[in-house]
Amino acid sequence: MGHPILFYGLAALLIAGALGVILARHPVYAVLNLVATLFALSGLFALLGAIFVAVIQVLVYAGAILVLFLFVVMLLDMAPEDLLRLRGGTLKWAGTLVGLVFLWQLTRAVRVFVLSPPTAPPGPPVAGTTAAVGRLLFTTYALPFEVASGLLLVGIIGAVVLAKKKL
């Protein structure tokens, strides 16, 4: 499913970015690392043939959501955070350890899963073009689509209400 070189390169960028997010001291650095991560992710989507999703990943996620994050970070003017609570706390060590354990289990699970492939044979690769996605969106998945817009409406109203100083 794609060039190995492209895959490994984008994967490396992805992981580096993600690690950067959780390890960064300054909040702004963290957000910027996340932007890089999202770009790499978008590249991977394109590699997989999902071009529509790849584009809106950059447009919506990196472009809108992370910008929002950036605004809030700058608004709150937070101090650089200590790196993973260097001062102590079992939580960081426990968290890392358990995270690694979890990863290990996950890999096992994946291997076992793939060894027993799904029953349905894969069909011909369908390109994830805008037209194709749009067609599905407005026919089979029309209801979720409308509900999602309702969700967005609720989100907006919630945010406005919460952020007001006086109701």
């Binding site: 499913m1 060039h3 895959f7 994967a11 992805l14 992981i15 993600a18 997010v21 959780i22 909040p27 996340l34 991560t37 999202l38 992710l41 989507f45 997989l48 999902a50 529509f52 999703v53 809106i56 990943q57 996620y61 959501i65 929002l68 994050f69 809030v72 970070v73 709150l76 937070m78 993973l84 609570r85 939580l91 968290g95 890392t96 995270g99 979890f102 990863l103 890999t107 994946v110 899963f113 793939v114 894969p122 011909p124 690769p125 369908v126 994830g128 194709a132 996605v133 599905l136 969106l137 998945y141 979720p144 999602a148 969700l151 967005l152 989100g155 919630g158 945010a159 919460l162 952020a163």
Partner: protein, 100 residues
């Protein structure tokens, strides 16, 4: 050959990184940020499966996940702002209202 497995493993690694971030970061905003990584790892898994099964539903799921993420980030950040404004703290350790 890059198979489905590679993508799934990658997704798993991303997920773990996100989880560790959620558990270990002290700042509330950073926790929310790590949450985004989690969501994105799920998106990767969806798209990989969509390609492997030849079914576009996975990509549609990504679409919806993104919408939800947007809404969640909006409200979450609004709450964080209000919290910081009122309690004056951004440290997750100090927000211990659920303690016995």
């Amino acid at each position: 050959m890059i198979t489905l497995t590679h993508y799934l493993l990658l997704s798993g690694i991303l997920f773990t990184i996100g989880l560790v971030g959620v558990i270990t970061r002290r700042n509330v905003i950073m926790i929310l940020l790590s949450l985004e990584i989690l969501l994105n790892s799920a998106n990767l898994a969806f798209v990989a499966f969509s390609r492997a099964l030849g079914n576009l539903t996975g990509q549609l799921m990504v679409f919806f996940v993104m919408i939800v993420a947007a809404a969640e980030v909006t409200v979450g950040l609004a709450i964080a702002v209000v919290l910081v404004r009122q309690a004056g703290k951004t440290n997750a350790d100090e927000l211990r209202g659920l303690k016995w």
